[in-house]
Amino acid sequence: MNAPNPLPDVTRRGFLAGAGALVVSFAIPAEAQEGEVPTAPGGQAAKPKRPGSLADMPSLDAWIRIDADGSITVFTGKAELGQGTKTSLRQIAAEELEVEPAAIKLVTADTALTPNEGYTAGSQTIQNSGTAIRYASAQVRQILIAKASEKLGAPVEALKAQAGAIVGPNSAKASYGELVSADFLHVDAAADTKLKPPAAYHAIGKPFARVDIPAKVTGGEAYVQDMRPPGMVHARVVRPPSYNARLTDFADAAVKAMPGVIAVVREGDFLAVVAEQEFQAVRAMRAMAGVAKWQEQPALPDQYDLPAFLEKSVSEVGAVTSVGADSVPGARTLEAQFTRAYQMHGSIGPSSAVAMVDNGLTTVWTHTQGVYPDRKAIAQMLGVPEEKVRCIHTEGSGCYGHNGADDAAADAALIAQKVPGKPVRVQWMRDQEHLWEPYGPAMLTRASATLDQNGNIVSWHYDLWSNSHGTRPGSAGSLIAGRLMDRHFPPDPAKLQISPLGNGDRNAIPLYDVPNQRVNWHFIADMPVRVSSLRGLGAYCNVFSIESFMDELALAANADPVEYRLRHLKDPRARKVIEVAAEKFGWSKDALPAGQGRGFAFAKYKNHAAYLAVALEADVDSDSGAIKVSRAVAAVDCGEAVAPDSIVNQTEGGILQSMSWTLYEAVHFDRTRILSPDWSTYPILRFSAVPDSIEVQVVDNPGTPYLGVAEAAQGPTAGAIANAFRNATGMRIYDLPYTRERVKGVLGV
């Protein structure tokens, strides 16, 4: 992990300007800092085509440093979130630098040290940072060879990099350390660096154990929660009972007198307490909750009639795609409507952060997904220039998108102002995470398709209703503390934006070959329930809807669902994952025993990232309403597979998490309060419901661009469960989640 000791005097430039280092800089596209913005579909954008764009991207450098002792440090603006990227990025650098991955030091997201790579989100770490590091490493190798050529007097062609040295004929050899010893070199990335061919790989695609796991299983200091800098004190926040509640009365005298209490913080409606010991802070927090009086207002929609709320709240409609004719004649037209409830990230570890104010500099250790944007928002909230805030990524519990991490960082930063010089550790309680994290937005979708005589799709209309799925920091109004404090920073107004990457409309365009398509996003700016990015964003509900609907169309066309999908797909890589999944699963038309069903679904994440198909078998107990997924087989193609086991791990996890969303999860609320404060009221997957087996086939494409994979399973899993249910029962459920009550309601007796 990144060191808990602050490095307040170190600027990136200063740090890197140390003697005896070789440093390479190169650019990352400007959009990459904006959030979940992809590289171009070709995956090449991380390699600058035109040096001119460098001028538009100040301070967007990724760095490699080699010291005189030969040690190699790689800097990434991306953060480890449990996907194993601390390992796979090392593999990538090691590949081109011709060393072992273990030889590489990796510094991850830190506003004082690493490039600004925006958010670690959208399954783009390998795609963006990995591509960048790959090209940089390859160029460093070439520069080292050129240096060695001078030093050893051998032609460049006769030299090669090997185990941290450049070697040539007649045992000529110069270690990397020797080559950089007298030099400091600042080089811009070349546009045409040649990469190693896959056949020569020693690190990429090879099975390396993850570097972070040994510490995590032996009690090492692995998470921000584990930090204990000297003099650290403990803080707890006290939240209002509902989003808009206002503090009317707060008698804090008794709390101040409680054992260990150092400070009681009140800033408008923001309340917190700082104490010597953690349990003292917990007790004081409870006491504060008891004496704080709030005025609340009903402002939430009707949980049981979300479609009506969504339809009536539309502020703007955006065309996601419009291809061919609006309507074409056909043999028959089918329609369907789908919904999805608000759902939680539900990290197992509630958000936490450590902050310290020292000499006017606020340093925050945070498990945010974006150290730079978080810094900007915190600086605005504190009313200080950005340089006065440093955010250092430190691992937390898995987040699966924008959860409470940034808010906890802001809490810590704000509280730390009251106790300067002391590191303050803020730990949210379970109910604070459950009630205040920004949920994945509720959605409504409608699909309609016209089939020709042969059952082929000739026209496709798809409409979706949703909030924005991205309210990440950028400004103080995106932070809970910013909203609650005296100045009551307003949330940023939500804007409809249609981009290739998608947001609520992510994966709203079917990948299937349909000549005439209309897709619209009915955008809802108003966000009475706090929402933001949850793994997959709109893709989860859109793929669920599209893949459910595809099965209905296949049924109408009297076709096998797998064959029907293939018939509408020319993309060979899409076809390949579908074929592999179907084959490994043993897809067949044979009837299953009553109550059992098979389901299939496919998507290419964001329509430009990983291809993933999944087949699964489910057993429906119509009397209890329980759906048991017994077996799943997935095939995934995410381009060149850097760390195949991490791809399998992420995909297994995605399948299980999506299964939990799909079968159980909905945030409950009345008109005033959120009613899901814990795991009692928001149940998630437990071991008794875990399938007997999950098999993930990685379809490797060495030498092709990296395609993000971490979110690829979310949508297809939901679609496959929906289709297996349909196959098992002859009925379809159009609304997520598939609770037992819903199952019983649909099946009757």
């Binding site: 449990g82 099975p207 993850r210 796991i213 998470y223 010991q277 699966y400 995605g654 299980l656």
Partner: protein, 168 residues
């Protein structure tokens, strides 16, 4: 003042005896293994062993476990000399974010100490109180089964991927 015996060492800790064991382990004894997840006994992230049984340390006041044998994941082995449960989790790469893992390991350890030949179904049932949000369940089940075999002296089985030894 509370007297605690943790991983074979005795400690005198100057805390309110009502303090949950979790906070004492983490803050006073500086042991990272047990994690705060809910503080309500609903998730198992804080699981440790007391006299061989799995307990939620978040709801166990320190005063109730005075003089008893407390074991945390740090007591199963070290990073340089991991115990069989830890070896199995590393070998199976059974973690994503890893936050739930120490709790899983302690509950599994308690099961295997009580029932060395636990069947796969027993493992599943024993782990029911513990939540994992990353969806690492399949690997956790495999790792515990592997730990069972390692503890019983069966060493055949999946081999570990070659290790990259750098620290995360």
């Amino acid at each position: 003042m509370v007297k605690l015996n943790v991983n074979g060492t005795s400690y005198d800790v100057d805390v309110d005896p009502a303090t949950p064991l979790l906070y004492v382990l983490r803050n006073d004894l500086k042991l990272n293994g047990a994690k705060f997840g809910c503080g309500l006994g609903q998730c198992g992230a804080c699981t440790v062993m007391v006299d061989g049984k799995a307990v939620f340390s978040c709801l166990t006041p320190a005063m109730l476990v005075e003089g008893r044998e407390i074991k945390t994941v740090e007591g199963l082995g070290t990073i340089d000399d991991p115990g069989p449960m830890q070896k199995a989790f590393i070998e199976q790469q059974a973690a994503q974010c890893g936050y739930c893992i120490a709790g899983m390991m302690m509950r599994a350890q308690a099961l295997l100490e009580a029932k060395p030949d636990a069947a796969d179904a027993d493992i599943r049932q024993a782990l029911e109180p513990n939540l994992c949000r990353c969806g690492t369940h399949m690997r956790i089940l495999r790792a515990v089964a592997r730990a069972r075999d390692l503890m019983q002296g069966k060493s055949a089985g999946n081999m570990a991927p070659s290790a990259a030894t750098g620290r995360g």
